[in-house]
C-alpha cells in the first residue's frame, strides 16, 4: 500500500467540514507553524524538496526564497486553481473534498511569505467549488484561523476566492495575475518576474493548489521526513488524475516509487485496460507533455523499467521520454487513433491561444487545419513535414509556454506515430472506416548492447 499523506483522511465522512477536519488532526500543522519563524517554514519547505505541482516542477522552497521583500510594499500569495489542462483534475478533488487541508496550506504559506491578502484564482467552470471554499473560509475564520491577529501572532490574513471566466491561458501565472487585476488575461513579458513585480506590481508567489496543500504534511512531518518519501528529486507524494481507457479512472495519490506498468495494471490504481484491449499510448502528465507509445512508456530507451516520478518519466528527453507535467494521466488503448487525438489537442490550443504573439496565434490554427485534413482523409504526405516545420517554428519563439505546449504534442505524435499519419494519407478511404490499431507500438524496442 502506497503512502498517503494528502488523501490520508479521504475515507472519513464529513472531512470537508471544519469540525471533522479538526478532530482528525486538522490545523495541527498551522499551530506548529505559528510557533516557528517564517524563515524557518521556508527552510522546511526547501528541505522537503517539494517541486511545484502545477506543471513545471520548479522547487517550491527556492521559488519562495526569491520573493523580494522591499520595505513597506505588501506581498501576495496567489494560488493557481485554474486547472484547465485537458486531463488534469486533481486540484478539483482537493478543493472539493478537502477544502480545509487546502486552506490550512494556504494559511501556513501566507504566514511564511508574509501575505496578508491571499488569492485563490479558480477556473470559472468549477462553478460550484467557490461556494465550498467560501464556506470553509468562513468556518476557518469563525474559529480564529483567518482574520486579524491569528493565534495571537500579530499576523493578519484574509483569503479571497476569485473566479476566472473560462480561459486556459489564465493558468499561466502572469496571465493569471493580469486577469486577477481585472485586465485581459494576456501573459506578461518576463522579466520582471512575479517574485519581484507580480500582482499590482507587488512581489508575488504563484503556486498550484496541490503544492500549497503539500505544505501541511511538510510541516507536520518536518522537511527531512517528507523528503524521505519518494525517490531522488521526486520527493513526497503526487496526485494523479487518470482518464481514458482504464478500468478505474480517478484521482490517485502515489509516492513516486511504483513503475508505470504497476500504475496502469495493478488493482490498487488504474486496474488495467477494459474490454481486454491493449495499451497503445499514453500522455503521462496532461495534454501538453509528449505522448509516448506503449513500449517507450513502460520501458526507457535503455530498456529499464520506467517509474512514475519526475526523473524517470523524462528519461530520454523529448526524443524518447515525456514529463510528469501536471499529473493528468491519459491512457489510449488500441482502438484509439493518434491522428484524431492530436487533432483534438491542436483544436484546444488553437482555441485557447491568447493571440498576442504571431507564432502561436497563427501557427496553432494552421496546425489544427492540417490535422483536420489528415484525419478526414484529405491529407498529403508533405503535410506531415509541414506540421513538423510549423511546430518547430512555434516552439521556443513565443512569449509564454502555451506555444510550446501546443507544439510538443504535435511533435511527439509525429516522432513516434509517423506511420499512423502516413497510413491516413495512403488510405484516405479506409482511414474513415477503421483505425490503424496497435501496429508495432507495443513491440519491445531493440536496445543496442553497450560497449
Amino acid at each position: 500500500m502506497a503512502k498517503k499523506i494528502l488523501l490520508e483522511n479521504d475515507h472519513i465522512e464529513g472531512i470537508r467540514y471544519y469540525d471533522t477536519y479538526r478532530k482528525n488532526g486538522g490545523y495541527r500543522a498551522a499551530e506548529k507553524a505559528f510557533k516557528m519563524s517564517p524563515a524557518d517554514i521556508v527552510e522546511e519547505v526547501k528541505k522537503s524538496g517539494l517541486r511545484g505541482r502545477g506543471g513545471a516542477g520548479f522547487p517550491t522552497g527556492m521559488k519562495w526564497s526569491f520573493l523580494a521583500k522591499p520595505e513597506g510594499v505588501p506581498r501576495h500569495l496567489v494560488c493557481n486553481a485554474d486547472e484547465s489542462e485537458p486531463g488534469t483534475f486533481k486540484d478539483r478533488y482537493l478543493m472539493e473534498f478537502h477544502p480545509h487541508l487546502f486552506i490550512e496550506g494556504l494559511l501556513i504559506s501566507s504566514f511564511a511569505l508574509g501575505s496578508n491578502a491571499t488569492y485563490v484564482y479558480i477556473r470559472g467552470e468549477y462553478a460550484w467549488i467557490p461556494d465550498i471554499l467560501e464556506q470553509a473560509i468562513a468556518e476557518a475564520k469563525n474559529n480564529g484561523w483567518l482574520g486579524k491577529n491569528i493565534l495571537g501572532s500579530g499576523f493578519d490574513c484574509e483569503i479571497y476566492v476569485h473566479r476566472g471566466a473560462g480561459a486556459y491561458i489564465c493558468g499561466e501565472e502572469t496571465a493569471l495575475i493580469e486577469s486577477l487585476e481585472g485586465k485581459r488575461g494576456n501573459p506578461r513579458m518576463k522579466p520582471p518576474f512575479p517574485a519581484i513585480q507580480g500582482v499590482w506590481m507587488r512581489p508575488t508567489v504563484v503556486n498550484n493548489v496541490e503544492t500549497l496543500a503539500a505544505v501541511v504534511p511538510i510541516i507536520n512531518l518536518g522537511g527531512d521526513e517528507y523528503a524521505k518519501i519518494g525517490v531522488g528529486k521526486s520527493t513526497g507524494t503526487k496526485l494523479l488524475s487518470v482518464c481514458g481507457n482504464v478500468n478505474k479512472p480517478g484521482v490517485y495519490e502515489i509516492d513516486m516509487t511504483c513503475t508505470v506498468e504497476e500504475f496502469i495494471y495493478s488493482d490498487e490504481y488504474c486496474g488495467g485496460i477494459p474490454k481486454g484491449r491493449k495499451l497503445k499510448a499514453c500522455i503521462p502528465g496532461g495534454s501538453s507533455v509528449p505522448i509516448l507509445p506503449a513500449n517507450l512508456l513502460l520501458k526507457t530507451a535503455k530498456g529499464e523499467a520506467r517509474y512514475m516520478n519526475y526523473e524517470s518519466l523524462s528519461d530520454g528527453g523529448f526524443a524518447t521520454g515525456s514529463m510528469m507535467g501536471s499529473g493528468g494521466f491519459i491512457v489510449l488503448d488500441d482502438a484509439q487513433c493518434v491522428v484524431r487525438h492530436t487533432m483534438t489537442l491542436a483544436r484546444f490550443y488553437n482555441h485557447e491561444s491568447c493571440g498576442q504573439c504571431s507564432p502561436c496565434r497563427e501557427g496553432t490554427g494552421w496546425m489544427y487545419k492540417i490535422l483536420k485534413n489528415l484525419e478526414y482523409g484529405k491529407g498529403k504526405m508533405s503535410d506531415i513535414d509541414l506540421l513538423w516545420d510549423i511546430q518547430r517554428r512555434i516552439e521556443g519563439n513565443t512569449i509564454c509556454p502555451l506555444g510550446d505546449a501546443a507544439a510538443w504534442p504535435v511533435a511527439a505524435a509525429i516522432r513516434h506515430f509517423r506511420d499512423e499519419f502516413e497510413w491516413h494519407v495512403n488510405n484516405p478511404e479506409e482511414s474513415q472506416t477503421r483505425n490503424f490499431g496497435l501496429a508495432h507500438y507495443a513491440d519491445p524496442i531493440h536496445v543496442p548492447a553497450s560497449a
Binding site: M189, H351, E352, Q356, S358, R361, T398, I399
Partner: protein, 360 residues
C-alpha cells in the same frame, strides 16, 4: 544621467558601448544597417510596446562577461536589455534567419492578398518585411480569416482583415489620449481591434493610430483611394498649431495636398505626434509653410528605385510577386475607379511633384 554605466555589446561582430538599460534592438539601431533586426510591434515612443510580433528575435550567444552562457532560446531584442560583454547574433545566426522566415510566414498566413487595393501598399512594413525576410511562396492552403467590416467614423478606416495584432494602436490611444475606448476583443486567431474607436475620434490625437499601424489596417479615410502613395511626393511642412507641434509631412501632387501625416524617422517611427486638425482638415497648401522635399530613408517602394522606370507596366508587380510569391488576383481594377493612376504617364519624366494637370 552621466552616471549610467556603459555596457559593451557586440552584434553580428560589431561592438558598441551603450548605456545600461538599452535594449538589444536599440543598440543595434545605434549601429545601424543590416545588424538591426526588423520590428513590427515595438515602437520606441510607446511605453510597453514590443515583444509580440517576434520578428526581432535574435540569438544571444554570450550572456555577459560575468555569465558567458548563451541564452537557451532566441529572445525578443526589443524587450531584452544588454548586459556588459553580451554577444548577439542577428543575420549571422542561421537560427535567427530561419525563425524570422517562419515569423514572416505566420504574419502573412491570414493576411489578405489585397495589396493592389490597399492604401498602405508602398509604405507597408509587412510588405517590406516579407520582401527582405520572407520566402517565395506561401504553404498555406486554407481560406484566410475575415472579419466583418466595422465603420469607425468619417476619418479613419479600420480594415481588420489586415491587422497583425501589434497592439501599437492600443498603446497609442492609451498613452496619447485621455480615455482609450478601443481595445482587443476575443482571443487567439479571432482576436480583433474593436469597440468605440469611432468615439475616441473626438480626441485630438487619435489620428496618430494611422501612422503607427504598420499595415493597412488603419488608414486615412480622407485620403483613401484618392491616390497611390508612390504617385504623391512627400514634403515637410509646418504650421502654427495651437494643439500640436504642427510639424507634418504633406503628400502632394502638384499643388494639391492629398494627405497629411506625421514625419517619420529612419525606423519608420513618428517624430512628433500631430493632431487631428492638422491631419484631417488642413488640406490646402495655404495652410502650411513648406520646408522642402522629405528625405525618405527607409527601404520602401517610395525610395527603392522602383519609383522610376516602372511606368508602362503596372507599378508594383515585381514587389508583389516577391511578397506573396504569386501574382495576385486583382479584386478590382484601380484604373476603372480612379483616373489618377494613369499607367502611360512616366512620373520620372515629370519635373518636381506631379500635378493633376499632368494627367489631364
Amino acid at each position: 544621467m552621466s552616471e549610467t554605466p556603459k555596457f559593451k555589446v557586440t552584434i553580428d561582430n560589431i561592438s558598441i558601448d551603450v548605456p545600461a538599460g538599452t535594449t538589444i534592438l536599440n543598440a543595434a539601431r545605434m549601429i545601424g544597417g543590416d545588424v538591426t533586426p526588423p520590428a513590427m510591434c515595438y515602437y520606441s515612443k510607446l511605453k510597453d510596446s514590443g515583444g509580440k510580433c517576434r520578428t526581432c528575435l535574435v540569438e544571444v550567444s554570450k550572456g555577459s562577461e560575468k555569465d558567458p552562457r548563451p541564452m537557451p532560446k532566441l529572445v525578443a531584442s526589443c524587450r531584452t536589455t544588454v548586459m556588459d560583454g553580451m554577444e548577439v547574433k542577428n543575420i549571422t545566426s542561421p537560427k535567427v534567419v530561419d525563425a524570422r522566415k517562419g515569423i514572416v510566414e505566420f504574419l502573412l498566413l491570414n493576411h489578405p492578398l489585397d495589396c493592389p487595393v490597399c492604401d498602405q501598399a508602398g509604405e507597408c512594413d509587412l510588405q517590406n518585411l516579407s520582401y527582405e525576410h520572407g520566402s517565395e511562396a506561401t504553404r498555406y492552403e486554407f481560406k484566410r480569416r475575415t472579419f466583418e467590416k466595422e465603420d469607425i467614423g468619417p476619418y479613419i478606416s479600420l480594415h481588420m482583415n489586415r491587422c497583425i495584432m501589434c497592439f501599437r494602436c492600443v498603446f497609442t490611444a492609451d498613452q496619447l489620449t485621455e480615455k482609450r475606448e478601443h481595445g482587443i476583443l476575443e482571443r487567439g486567431d479571432h482576436a480583433q481591434i474593436s469597440t468605440m474607436l469611432n468615439k475616441s475620434l473626438d480626441n485630438d490625437f487619435i489620428g496618430n493610430v494611422i501612422d503607427v499601424c504598420p499595415v493597412g489596417a488603419l488608414t486615412d479615410k480622407t485620403f483613401r483611394f484618392k491616390n497611390r502613395v508612390w504617385f504623391t511626393k512627400p514634403v515637410d511642412a509646418h504650421r502654427d498649431c495651437p494643439t500640436c507641434s504642427g510639424k507634418a509631412r504633406l503628400w502632394m501632387r502638384g499643388e494639391e495636398v492629398f494627405r497629411v501625416t506625421a514625419r517619420k524617422d529612419q525606423w519608420g517611427e513618428v517624430e512628433d505626434w500631430i493632431c487631428n486638425d492638422c491631419r484631417f482638415h488642413k488640406k490646402e497648401t495655404k495652410d502650411w509653410v513648406i520646408e522642402g522635399p522629405s528625405k525618405i530613408s527607409r527601404s520602401s517602394v517610395i525610395a527603392q528605385g522602383h519609383y522610376q522606370g516602372n511606368v508602362g507596366t503596372a507599378p508594383t508587380p515585381v514587389l508583389i510577386d516577391k511578397v506573396i510569391g504569386k501574382q495576385p488576383k486583382y479584386t478590382l481594377d484601380i484604373h476603372s475607379i480612379s483616373d489618377v493612376n494613369r499607367p502611360e504617364i512616366d512620373l520620372s519624366k515629370i519635373d518636381g511633384p506631379a500635378h493633376s494637370n499632368d494627367f489631364k
